[in-house]
Symmetry: C2
Subunit: 535 residues, 2 copies
């Protein structure tokens, strides 16, 4: 058993209904990506029975949790944020040992995680997220119109699959969990096997908070598993009504297909791979190529390139400025220290993929080949022509890690043609100066149909957690372009509407009653208002 400075004890057990559970005999340990050494805690691989128990618990608790007022749910989210902050030292230490992301990044990620929990608490306190719509009745209309009142309600237990690359902000208490709990849905977390200790300490933070505010301890279960059978069983458990997933394209698509084939299909909100193309206008390239190479190098190398918003494709003009830009980018990336990737499997995948891609005809490597003995993963910049790009489908596969392709295009019009042929992406970035404006405007129009977020004269890494954020995008970036996994509207994934027709005021949910004691924004007879309804 490991004990931290503030006495957080990890047991390595799965956590179901607030209690430790270790029904199986199989265990696994986390591995420090820097040293390759195994951690001290043996984590119990979840069994099928534990999975069934967690699903039954979630359904049982759903009825209590959905009936808890939004402000009551906000209390748990805030207490959880406070608990995470109180355990900051232990959490950052454990997460760093399991991910090698470093304390600066992990402290920032913890801030973001507590910020997300508090932002959803604020959303609940404000209350208008239920999108109340009231169409008053009219007995004299033809046909007579009934009184109809509609609001969003929680859908039921949610399964959350966490990724390796954001152990906190997309982890056990990350945005998926925070938004599902806010919606009124209990959560079953399948923790990523790369960082089981981080998952466990986060889950314990929530349970400690739940005990302190009297929330039901079954609102969160944690299952630790490397076995894909548990993932499959979780997605097919009849109690589970939706899935939040962040991770690889292969795993996300497999879960999507499994969920769609259930007797009762459910939605998988999978945020998968993305190339995040970045386009540099001719004038901007001429005037600002050094500055853009600086910013882009930093964005590509952030977190050793392990961001879903890492820019992996750059389009420039095929001229002197374009070649100069590519060389400048390669110099800046080569000058940065090699980083340690999150786990050996990711590193080996990247090495294989880079070796394959750089061996393709027409692809020029601009950064030095890493030496065999090198400890970390160095950045790689390759360049090619638009023609080779269009003929090489592998260049539209995500290379997860510090890898970027610079595509040289003969004309600004060719860039627009290529943009029309791109797959779906989370983001696209345009660097343009006033003389580039007409081209940039056309490009923005094309990209609006291809991505979830368009970034202007900036870089796509760094996803602001605000109401207006859209972290999603057309397939294969996600399996559901209509939703976001970051920002206030992420809660919409776990809600559905119900209408009440001529139901007496006393039997209506509070959000729909005449007096509007919650003071929420409602659409009443076509007008947005916080006023009560006077009959």
């Amino acid at each position: 058993m490991a004990t931290d400075a503030v006495n957080v004890t990890l047991t390595g057990a799965n956590i179901i209904a607030g209690r430790d559970s270790r029904a199986g005999s199989s265990v696994f340990r986390s591995v420090d990506p820097r040293s390759g050494r195994e951690g001290s805690v043996a984590f119990a691989e979840a069994t099928a029975q534990e999975l069934a128990d967690s699903a039954a618990t979630a359904l049982r608790v759903f009825h209590e949790w959905r009936s808890t007022t939004p402000r009551g749910r906000a209390t748990l989210l805030r207490a959880t944020a406070t608990q995470l902050a109180a355990w900051r030292g232990s959490i950052v230490t454990m997460a760093d040992e399991e991910t090698a992301l470093g304390p600066d990044r992990l402290n920032g990620e913890l801030d973001r995680t507590t910020g997300q929990l508090r932002a959803f608490a604020d959303l609940l306190d404000e209350g208008s997220y239920v999108q109340a719509i009231i169409s008053p009745g009219d007995a004299r209309a033809t046909p007579p119109r009934p009184d109809l009142r509609r609001m969003l309600v929680p859908i039921g237990p949610v399964a959350v699959f966490t990724p390796s690359n954001f152990p906190l902000a997309f982890g056990a208490l990350g945005g998926d969990t925070a938004s599902a709990l806010a919606a009124g849905c209990p959560v079953i977390v399948k923790g990523h096997p790369s960082h089981p200790a981080t998952s466990e300490i986060c889950a314990r933070a929530l349970l400690t908070a739940a005990a302190s505010v009297g929330a039901p301890d079954g609102v969160l279960s944690l299952l630790q598993a490397r076995d894909v059978a548990i993932a499959r069983a979780l997605v097919t458990a009849p109690e589970v009504q939706a899935v939040g997933f962040t991770g690889s394209f292969g795993a996300g698509r497999a879960l999507h297909d499994l969920a769609a084939s259930r007797p009762e299909p459910i939605r998988v909100y999978a945020e998968m791979g993305s190339l995040n193309p970045l386009f540099v206008g001719p004038h901007a390239l001429g005037e600002r190529r050094g500055e853009i190479a600086d910013g882009l190098a930093a964005s590509v190398m952030l977190g050793t390139g392990q961001f879903c918003t890492k820019p992996g494709l750059v389009f420039v003009m095929d001229n002197e400025a374009g070649s100069g830009f590519a060389r400048a980018l390669a110099d800046r990336i080569a000058s940065r220290a090699a980083g340690v990737m999150l786990n050996r499997s990711l590193r080996e995948n990247l090495d294989r993929q880079v070796a394959r891609t750089t061996a393709l005809p027409g692809i020029d490597r601009l950064t030095p080949s890493p030496s065999e003995s090198e400890a970390g993963s160095a950045g790689t910049v390759v360049t090619t022509t638009a023609r080779t790009f269009l003929g090489t489908p592998a260049l539209q596969d995500e290379h997860f890690g510090p890898f970027v392709v610079v595509v040289r295009c003969t004309t600004p019009e060719q860039v627009l043609d290529i943009a029309r042929q791109l797959h779906g992406n989370l983001t696209a970035t345009i660097h343009a100066d006033p003389p580039d404006q007409t081209w940039a405007s056309d490009l923005a129009g094309i990209l609006t149909d291809k991505v979830g977020r368009i970034v202007w004269n900036g870089y796509p890494t760094g996803v602001a957690v605000t109401s207006a954020m859209q972290h999603g995008g057309p397939y294969p970036a996600t399996t559901d372009a209509a939703h976001t996994s970051v920002g206030a509207t992420a809660i919409a994934r776990f809600l559905r509407p119900v209408a009440f027709q001529n139901v007496p005021d006393a039997l209506l949910p509070e959000a729909l009653r005449d007096d509007n004691t919650l003071g929420i924004q409602r659409l009443v007879d076509g007008q947005w208002t916080r006023d009560p309804i006077r009959r």
Copy 2:
């Protein structure tokens, strides 16, 4: 060729990019359900090439139609409504010959169809449906916050499969088409083979309107097909980005599965079967059973029971009042004239299903068996106990047509237990008096997790087209409980969000610019406002 009073000429062709297309050699004719006689127009079965042409047309037109201002799109919707109204006599006559629904119902349905088109036009004129959210930047925040502006944009070409039972309101220009066009998505309609003439005259109304207002004629294509291969090809066409479907459970699920298995999966909004359970509280049963039997009989028999909201399951107490209610309901239904169903296949299905169900053990038929020679479909009432109901899964299958099951329960608590075990439904109805209130409140809480709309002391048929309507519900009622196919929010099915980060005002979509010249409601820095943004 058939010519109507106002010179609407039907050609029987498919309609693609505003032009007639009859590439194939296979034709079919509609059949008058009353006489069994074939119609005069030979409708051309669409070919795979015509399908590909319509999909390519829709994608080509998408770029023009999505760039048309919301008010420009509203102009087409209003002109279409005007055209439908101008052709009212011809439309009602043709639809009646193909459906036997009668002129009263069809005139009402035409009103509803034009009302829906005008309601979406109003929504576009008002403009706030794009859900603009603006989070202003803050350079001093840690990390610095970018300016983020998010709105909904159209998803692309939409395929619409129309049902047999609402030839106008859910037909070629019904709610699915109206909401998709309003969203900015071109539509390919696969017309129901039961009423090809009705589909064609409606499509021509839209094309006539498009010509009059200068809208692109490719915004609507009509494919006539009995062959399921065309349906499959439409759902798998790469250009198609979403599917609206109203019809049987089997067909809806098949389309859902096909769409989920595409290389690029898309969403199918299928509104399928529903039992629409109706619950009568003990006091209401004692005091108002005659009145409820009257209202329920009318609701069951409306349109010969061919409503997706037809109440098909009724729960009452197993006492003298309950038996009396069941007999009264049977008397009222038996006294109504047999109706003509929409087509022979539906009638034969119902006859087979009723024969099978009434032969099951523990099921008592309360209405007389129809004589062999009877021309129409008479109503059928059966009754059973709660115990038999729970042991007979077939009683939770939709019987499409004038059929209703009265389930007698021993206690009010048993009713709650059964409610917890029901499948998803579009609606549930509660009849309750003040002394029933505690029970009714518990029941409403349970049903909130089971249905899309709860009706109080009324009947579920008659779906008001208002902003607060929710016509949807948990599977198997639909494949997507988060959406509605009726009411203003139906437009949300065909929209997805895009965020713009630090994009210059002049390059932003009009809805997101500082000056808010559209005057729409926006969430700016957490506050709902129609004001411009002052920097």
